[in-house]
C-alpha cells in the first residue's frame, strides 16, 4: 500500500518523530539500567545530582574506576543468584517440553474433531486463560501443605504446565486447523491408526507452530512471579522471586545494586530470545488475531 501514495513532508516528519519518540521510550529504561548496573548505589540513586550516574563520581571514589562489577559480584556470588538461575533453567525447560507435548496432542484432537464438545472445551479454556494466576495459587497452598509437596521444583513445574495449557491449546488448535485434513486422512486410508498418522505425517510438518507456541510457553514460565513466589521454598527459588527478595533486604547500603544487577542479568536471555526469534514472536502474536 505504501509505494503508491505520495505523502506530505509534514506527515512524514510527524510520524517519524512519533516512532523515534516511542523507540526512546521503549529502550531508554533498559539502557539506563544496564549503564547504572555498573555504578555504585550513590551514583545510580543519587541524592544530590542525577548527573553523578553519568559521570560516576562516587564509583570513582569508592572503587577507583568509572565502572564496577560489584553489583554483579554481590548478586551472583554473595547472594547465590546462580542457584536461582539454575532453578529457572530447570523449571523453564521442563515446562516448555511438557506443555508442548500435552498441547500438541490436545490441540491436534481439538482441530480434527468436529463435535460440539470441542467448542465447549475451547470456551472453558478461554475462561481458564483469563483467571488471575494468584487466585489459583490460593487454592493450591493448603492441599500442597497437606500432601507435603509444597516447595519443590516439580510442583511448580506441573502447576505452570497446567496454567499454560489453555493458551497452548488455543494456539496449536488454530495452527493445526491450517494443516490440511487430507494429509493425515490419506495416511489413515493407507492403514495408519490415528496416532500413527499423527506421529508420521503431522509431527514432521508441525515444527513452525510448535516453536512459536514454545516461545510463549517459555515466556510464561520465565516471567511468572505469582506461582513461583508462593509455591517454591527459599532454596528452590527461581530468578524472579529471588529479585523480589533482594528488594526486602535493601536497607544495607549497596544491596539495591544487587537487585539492579540481577534485573539486568535476568533481562539478558530475553534480549537474546528476541534477537533470534523476532519473526516467530511476531507471527505468534498475530496468529490469534487473524483467527479471531
Amino acid at each position: 500500500m505504501a509505494a503508491t501514495q505520495r505523502r506530505s513532508p509534514l506527515l512524514v516528519t510527524v510520524s517519524t518523530a512519533l516512532v523515534l519518540l516511542w523507540v526512546v521510550i521503549a529502550s531508554f529504561p533498559f539502557l539506563w539500567t544496564l549503564w547504572g548496573s555498573f555504578k555504585v548505589q550513590a551514583d545510580f540513586f543519587s541524592l544530590s545530582d542525577w548527573r553523578n550516574a553519568l559521570r560516576g563520581t562516587f564509583t570513582m571514589a569508592q572503587t577507583g574506576s568509572a565502572f564496577t562489577g560489584q553489583g554483579y559480584h554481590g548478586a551472583w556470588v554473595q547472594e547465590e543468584f546462580w542457584r536461582a538461575a539454575m532453578n529457572t533453567l530447570i523449571v523453564v525447560v521442563c515446562v516448555v517440553v511438557i506443555s508442548l507435548t500435552f498441547g500438541t496432542l490436545g490441540g491436534y484432537a481439538l482441530a480434527r474433531s468436529g463435535f460440539r464438545y470441542t467448542f465447549w472445551l475451547l470456551m472453558i479454556a478461554l475462561v481458564f486463560r483469563a483467571m488471575p494466576h494468584i487466585t489459583l495459587v490460593s487454592g493450591y497452598l493448603l492441599p500442597f501443605f497437606q500432601w507435603n509437596v509444597w516447595g519443590h521444583l516439580p510442583t511448580a513445574i506441573i502447576v505452570l504446565v497446567a496454567i499454560n495449557q489453555p493458551f497452548t491449546l488455543w494456539m496449536l488448535h488454530s495452527f493445526f486447523l491450517n494443516i490440511p485434513k487430507d494429509l493425515d486422512e490419506s495416511a489413515m486410508v493407507d492403514g495408519c491408526t490415528r496416532f500413527q498418522a499423527f506421529r508420521h505425517v503431522i509431527v514432521p510438518v508441525m515444527w513452525p507452530g510448535v516453536i512459536t507456541t514454545g516461545l510463549f510457553s517459555f515466556l510464561l514460565a520465565y516471567n511468572d512471579f505469582a506461582v513461583t513466589a508462593m509455591l517454591l521454598s527459599q532454596q528452590n527459588q527461581t530468578m524472579v522471586p529471588k529479585i523480589a527478595s533482594f528488594l526486602g533486604s535493601t536497607q544495607v547500603e549497596g544491596n539495591v545494586m544487587f537487585a539492579v544487577a540481577a534485573v539486568v542479568s535476568a533481562t539478558a536471555p530475553l534480549f537474546v530470545l528476541i534477537l533470534f526469534f523476532q519473526r516467530q514472536i511476531v507471527s505468534g502474536l498475530t496468529a490469534g488475531a487473524v483467527k479471531g
Binding site: S46, F115, Q278, V282
Partner: protein, 342 residues
C-alpha cells in the same frame, strides 16, 4: 475423529487442567467458607504471695493441635463474603448514611480493602486498554510509513517492554522515577519542587502504574495492528483516493474498519490481562496508595499468619469478576457458533 481417540489425545492436557485449574477453584470455594481457628483460651489460676488471681492465657499447644487437625479452619458459611475485608455490606450502609456527599462517601469507602482494590483494578483495566489501542495504532501507522530497513529494528526495540518480566519491567521504571532516580530528578527540576515524590501521592502513584501498563502493553497492540496494516486491500484505498478522500479520511473509512476485528481481539486480551494487574504493585511498592484484587490475595497468603479464608474469598470474587468481564465475548462466540449451523 472418533470420541475414543479424541479422549486419549486430549487426556493429558485435560487432566492437567482439571487437576490444577478446575479442582483448585473448588478448593478455593471451600476455603472461602471457612475462617481460621481462633486461639484456644484457657483460664489458669495464678497463686502468688498476695493470693490467687484468675487469668486467661492463650494455650499455644492446643491452638497448634487444633490447627493441625483441621487446617481448613472452622466453617463460617458466607460470613467471609460479607465481612469488612470483602463486600462489607454493613460498613457501606453505615458510611452511606453518615456521609454528606458522594465524594465523602467515596473517600470513606476507599478505606475498605476489597472496594479499594476493585476501584484500582477497574480503573487500571478501563484506562489502560483504550490508551493501548490508540498508542498501538499510532505507532503501527508511523512504522508502516517508515522505509523498510528501519522497520525490523523498530519492532525489535518495541518488543522489549512487552516481553520483559512484568516485575522486572516495573522495577526498571520504578528505579527511574524514584525521587533519587533520573526521571524523578528531572520531574523535580521541571516542577521546581525538590520534595516531589511520585510515591508520596496516591494520584501520582495511580498515574505511574497506568503509564507502566500502557508502556508494557502498547507493543502488543502495535504488532497486531502492524500485521493487520500489511493486509489492507489496495482496491478500496485506490477507489477512495479517486473519490477524493484525503489521507485522514482513508484511514478513517478504509483502514480502521479493516482493523476492527483486530481491535476487538486486542481489547479482549487486554481486558483479561489488565484485570489481573499484580506485579507492578509489588515492583513499584505502591501498596500504600494502590492495591489490586490480585495483590490483596497475595497479601493475605504471604507471611506466617496466612489468611486462607480471606484469600479464597477475594479469589472467588475475582473469578466472578472475570466471568462478568468475559460474558459479552462468550455470548457473542456462542451466537456465532450457532449461526455457523452446528
Amino acid at each position: 475423529m472418533k470420541h475414543r481417540t479424541f479422549f486419549w489425545f486430549i487426556l493429558p492436557s485435560a487432566l492437567a487442567m482439571i487437576l490444577f485449574i478446575a479442582l483448585p477453584v473448588v478448593s478455593v470455594f471451600i476455603q472461602s467458607l471457612h475462617v481460621e481457628h481462633e486461639q484456644v483460651l484457657r483460664t489458669v489460676e495464678n497463686c502468688g504471695p498476695f493470693g490467687c488471681a484468675e487469668e486467661t492465657i492463650v494455650d499455644r499447644e492446643a491452638t497448634r493441635e487444633l490447627r493441625e487437625a483441621r487446617p481448613l479452619g472452622r466453617f463460617a458459611g458466607f460470613s467471609n463474603y460479607l465481612d469488612r475485608n470483602h463486600l462489607a455490606i454493613t460498613e457501606i450502609r453505615g458510611m452511606w448514611e453518615r456521609s454528606d456527599s458522594i465524594a465523602d462517601f467515596t473517600r470513606r469507602a476507599m478505606t475498605l480493602p476489597f472496594w479499594r482494590a476493585l476501584a484500582f483494578t477497574l480503573t487500571f483495566t478501563f484506562v489502560v486498554t483504550p490508551f493501548v489501542l490508540v498508542l498501538g495504532l499510532a505507532i503501527a501507522l508511523g512504522v508502516n510509513s517508515l522505509p523498510r530497513i528501519f522497520r525490523g529494528p523498530t519492532i525489535f526495540v518495541s518488543l522489549l517492554p512487552m516481553i520483559v518480566t512484568p516485575l522486572i519491567g516495573s522495577l526498571v521504571l520504578y528505579w527511574m522515577v524514584d525521587s533519587r532516580g533520573v526521571l524523578g530528578a528531572f520531574l523535580q527540576t521541571v516542577t521546581n519542587d525538590p520534595t516531589l515524590s511520585l510515591r508520596a501521592s496516591p494520584t501520582l502513584t495511580w498515574i505511574m502504574l497506568i503509564v507502566y501498563g500502557v508502556w508494557s502493553s502498547a507493543p502488543f497492540a502495535f504488532i497486531v495492528f502492524y500485521a493487520g496494516l500489511q493486509t489492507v486491500p489496495e482496491e478500496p484505498l485506490e477507489a477512495a483516493m479517486i473519490d477524493g478522500a484525503n489521507r485522514w479520511q482513508r484511514i478513517r473509512y478504509v483502514v480502521i474498519p479493516h482493523l476492527m476485528p483486530l481491535a476487538i481481539f486486542i481489547t479482549l486480551m487486554q481486558l483479561m490481562d489488565n484485570f489481573r494487574v499484580f506485579e507492578p504493585i509489588v515492583g513499584f511498592q505502591a501498596q500504600a496508595s494502590a492495591t489490586s484484587l490480585s495483590y490483596n490475595i497475595f497479601n493475605y497468603l504471604r507471611g506466617d499468619a496466612a489468611q486462607f479464608g480471606a484469600a479464597a474469598t477475594t479469589s472467588m470474587l475475582t473469578i466472578l469478576g472475570v466471568v462478568v468481564l468475559l460474558a459479552p465475548v462468550l455470548i457473542r462466540t456462542w451466537r456465532d457458533f450457532n449461526r455457523k449451523g452446528h
